[in-house]
Each structure stands twice: as structure tokens, then as C-alpha cells.
């Protein structure tokens, strides 16, 4: 079992590294395509690695390791520290890192999943009036209304997504900002992003030991946000309202967020989690401000990357 986990970590790191470098080379790609590249990076440790164990068991044999493998973790195990091979040490350290990365996001995810109201509120109709014209013809989502919160706007619900909003949102956002923010949430609803997000969290739980899976799945969630941002920008015709809305909403919500409320004995961790959120918001704002040309043939590039990575990882044991 430890050997399978080690292979999953190794393949995950290689796939994530290759995809990360390629996405850096193609910064203009749409968030949707970037998301697909990240899902590809996740597919290798989640699907290809176990498939290779069953379909090509001879890859684990000495002959393959000795003659054909580009990299064999067994070789690393020949360097020993305190009676254990370096491959074991790396495996343990990386598994701990993976678990820590999962725990970092699991708490807020569960609080967000479980802690929101489940009732539709007729007052939500006020918000629907602010929806930009682009959503005309799209079935309006259910809106749940929360009181006593700071500015809050998010999409929840796996099978029938709904928008959760707070009244404080109306007070702090200008109408066009509110329209952009709602268009963003509508994009999550129409693309069923909460379901994909839950799937990603499920994968993270399954491969809790794999730090590459934790990092890439987190980046994929950020890409979903960027994808929804692009829909909102198309709907409003300009990135400015969304940018202002993001910044205002975040500033006004400071100190009220789940992670900043102060968990008993975990204040430091809460502050650290908020710093991650700040960075994520800043990255989204920066992306909205700079538009770059995308290279053509995204699907073909994705396919070629998948083939090249599969060929490489076949020889990594």
C-alpha cells in the first residue's frame, strides 16, 4: 500500500510540475482551459497510476526498474538515514505535507458546506433585479437570504445550486458591482461548480497524502472562480464593476469571515487561512486587469500534454 501511495505522490508531483510550467508558458489561456489542464494533472495520480498497477504489473519488476525506468524510487532508497531509505523519508514527509494542506482547506470547506441556510427567501427577488441582461433566458436560481452577516454572496448546493446572499451586500455594493457579482455567482450555478468543487474535495480526501493533488485541486478551484469572473465581465462589458465589487466585498467582510473569527487556540491558523484568501483575491484582480493573447488549439495542446505525460510517467516507478 505504501508503495502505491509513493507512486501516486511521485506521479502527482511530476504531472503537477509539468502542467504548472506549461500554464506559466501560456498565461493567456482561458480559465476554462487552465481548469482542464489542472484536472488532467489530477487524473494522473488518481486514475493513471492505479491503472498502471493493474494493467502493467511488470513495471514493478526488477528488470523494468533496472533496464527501462527513467526514475525508480527504489534507487533513492539505497541512500539510508537512521535505518530507513530516503524514499521512505521523502514519502513520509510528503504525505504529512499533503495531509496538512488538506486540513488547511477542509475546515473552511465543511463550515461553508454545512453552515449556510437552506431556505429560499422571497426577499431574494430584490437581488434578481440586479442580474445583468446576459442571464436573461437562464432559469433564475433559488436565492437564500441570511441576516446578521457581513457582505456575503456565494453559491451552495450540489445538485440544485442556489445563491446565498446577505442584506449587508446590498448596502456595500453599487448596483453595477452587485450585477457583476451576481453574474459571477450565476456562472457557478449554470456550470454546477459546487458539484465539481465537492468532487475535487472528495479526491483530495481520497488522496489526502498526496501534496500535488492538494495543491492542484486548490488551484483548480481558483480557476473556477476566474472562469466565473470572465462570465461576469462579459455580462457587464467591463472588468471594473467586478474588480470594485471583489475589493469592496472583501474589505467589508474583513474580520467577519469564518476563518478570522478566531477558533479556540487556532487564531494563528485562522489568520494564515485569511492570508491565503487575500492572495487568491489579489490574483483574481490582477488577472482581470491584464488580458493576454492565448495560443491556439487548446484542446490539441491538452491532448498532446496528456499523451506526453502518460509516456513519461509509464517509465517512472
Amino acid at each position: 500500500m505504501a508503495e502505491q501511495a509513493g507512486a501516486s505522490i511521485l506521479h502527482g508531483l511530476v504531472a503537477a510540475g509539468v502542467v504548472f510550467v506549461l500554464l506559466r508558458l501560456w498565461p493567456g489561456d482561458s480559465p476554462g482551459l487552465r481548469l482542464r489542464f489542472q484536472l488532467l494533472a489530477l487524473a494522473f495520480p488518481a486514475l493513471l497510476t492505479p491503472a498502471l498497477w493493474f494493467l502493467a504489473p511488470w513495471r514493478q519488476g526488477d528488470d523494468f526498474r533496472d533496464l527501462w525506468a527513467i526514475f525508480s524510487s527504489h534507487r533513492l532508497g539505497q541512500l539510508r538515514l537512521l535505518g530507513h531509505g530516503l524514499d521512505s523519508w521523502f514519502g513520509v514527509v510528503l504525505a504529512l505535507a499533503g495531509s496538512a494542506l488538506l486540513l488547511r482547506d477542509l475546515g473552511p470547506f465543511l463550515l461553508e458546506l454545512l453552515g449556510k441556510p437552506n431556505r429560499a427567501d422571497p426577499g431574494g427577488a430584490q437581488l434578481l433585479n440586479a442580474l445583468p441582461a446576459v442571464s436573461a433566458g437562464v432559469e433564475h436560481p433559488r436565492i437564500a437570504w441570511v441576516e446578521g452577516e457581513g457582505p456575503l454572496l456565494l453559491t451552495v448546493g450540489l445538485w440544485r445550486p442556489r445563491i446565498v446572499a446577505s442584506r449587508a451586500l446590498l448596502d456595500c455594493l453599487a448596483p453595477e458591482e452587485l450585477g457583476a457579482a451576481l453574474a459571477h455567482e450565476m456562472a457557478h450555478v449554470t456550470r454546477r461548480d459546487p458539484l465539481l468543487g465537492a468532487g475535487l474535495m472528495g479526491l483530495r480526501l481520497l488522496l489526502f497524502f498526496n501534496p500535488a493533488v492538494q495543491v492542484v485541486a486548490r488551484a483548480a478551484v481558483q480557476e473556477m472562480e476566474c472562469r466565473a469572473d470572465d462570465v461576469a465581465v462579459s455580462a457587464t462589458g467591463s472588468p471594473e464593476p467586478l474588480l470594485r465589487g471583489l475589493r469592496t466585498g472583501f474589505r467589508e467582510g474583513e474580520g467577519r469571515r469564518v476563518t478570522a473569527r478566531g477558533w479556540p487556540g487556532l487564531d494563528g491558523l485562522g489568520r494564515q487561512l485569511d492570508r491565503f484568501r487575500v492572495k487568491a483575491i489579489e490574483a483574481r484582480c490582477q488577472r482581470l486587469m491584464g488580458v493576454r493573447d492565448a495560443p491556439p488549439q487548446g484542446g490539441l495542446r491538452l491532448g498532446l500534454t496528456a499523451a506526453a505525460l502518460a509516456a513519461l510517467l509509464f517509465f517512472v516507478v
Binding site: 506549461l22 533496472d66 539510508r80 498532446l304 506526453a308 513519461l312
Partner: protein, 174 residues
């Protein structure tokens, strides 16, 4: 598009190169050429070589068991190098056993040969070679064929003692 293809090929090739480089690190640190592995235990070596490794008969006065270091290679033939643990007064010795007719050079590094001559060990022909290795030390190799396999001893002590160790070993061989 051609540029994107080149980028994909380049990045994946670079990843392969990095992995190859990483794989070479343990070999460089431990002085192991590619294809030669260091076994962490007798059990691991036996499992990899699919053979039982027993203490050389008649050597218990000079060398301890298990060996100080076990190296093995699986290609072109399965072979093992047992660097013995010298007891007080004994000198360095490595015992090589190959399941083929040769002992791979990467397992037994070749040196500059002074001379070699045929000798007899318990009525069977063997080759005695004197050579210097990369460490500039003088060593003696004594090797012979036994059935389908080949055995060699690389030793730094006197020739008489080397022949005696070989005879003790040969007495136990079928």
C-alpha cells in the same frame, strides 16, 4: 501550434532529464554504477537474486556474517558482490558470485593488470590476477567457473591465504 508542440516536448523532456539526474544521485553518492544496486539486507539481496546467500564455509575465523556490504546486479546476469566484514587481523576481501559465465565489470571494477596465471584450486583450474584499482592499491583476483556460474575473490592479503580461502570455499561446493 508548432511552438506549443515544442514547448510540450521540451517541458516533458526536461522533466525526464531531471528525474534521470535525481536517479543518478544515490549512485554518485554511493559509487554505484547504473545497474548495480546496494541491498539493505541479506533478505533483500536473496529476494532480488532469487538465490540463498549462505556464509562462506571455513571463513568464519577471518570474516563475520552478514557481509559489511552487499551489491548486486541483475543484468546481463544475476551476480552479487559480498564485501566481507574482516575479523581482527584479517584484510579486505570481496566475494563475487555470478549465475552466468562472467562477473559483470560494473559489479567488479576492472583495474590495471600486472600479470595473471592459471592455478589449481582443489584440482580445478582457476585464474589468479594481480592488479591495481582506482584506489592505487594492489589487489589479487582469484576466479573460477563452477557449473553454470562463476566465483571470484578480490583480496588484499597474501596469495597463500587467498588460495586457502578459495580451497575452503571449493570444498563445500558440489
Amino acid at each position: 501550434m508548432a511552438r506549443a508542440v515544442l514547448q510540450i516536448v521540451g517541458v516533458v523532456s526536461l522533466a525526464g532529464l531531471v528525474l534521470s539526474g535525481l536517479e543518478a544521485v544515490p549512485g554518485a553518492v554511493l559509487g554505484l554504477p547504473r545497474g548495480v544496486s546496494l541491498a539493505a539486507s541479506l533478505g533483500e539481496a536473496e529476494r532480488r537474486l532469487d538465490t540463498k546467500l549462505t556464509p562462506p564455509p571455513g571463513w568464519s575465523g577471518s570474516f563475520g556474517w552478514p557481509p559489511r556490504e552487499i551489491r548486486y546486479s541483475l543484468r546481463p546476469v544475476r551476480a552479487v558482490a559480498l564485501r566481507m566484514e574482516p575479523r581482527e587481523g584479517a584484510v579486505n576481501l570481496t566475494l563475487y558470485r555470478s549465475q552466468g559465465t562472467v562477473i559483470p565489470d560494473r559489479l567488479r571494477p576492472p583495474g590495471r593488470v600486472f600479470h595473471s596465471l592459471e592455478v589449481w584450486v582443489k584440482g580445478r583450474p582457476a585464474l589468479l590476477t594481480t592488479l591495481t584499482l582506482a584506489d592505487n592499491q594492489v589487489w589479487q583476483d582469484l576466479e573460477w567457473t563452477e557449473g553454470a556460474g562463476r566465483t571470484a575473490i578480490r583480496f588484499q592479503g597474501p596469495t597463500v591465504q587467498l588460495l586457502g580461502l578459495a580451497e575452503a570455499l571449493r570444498e563445500a561446493e558440489p
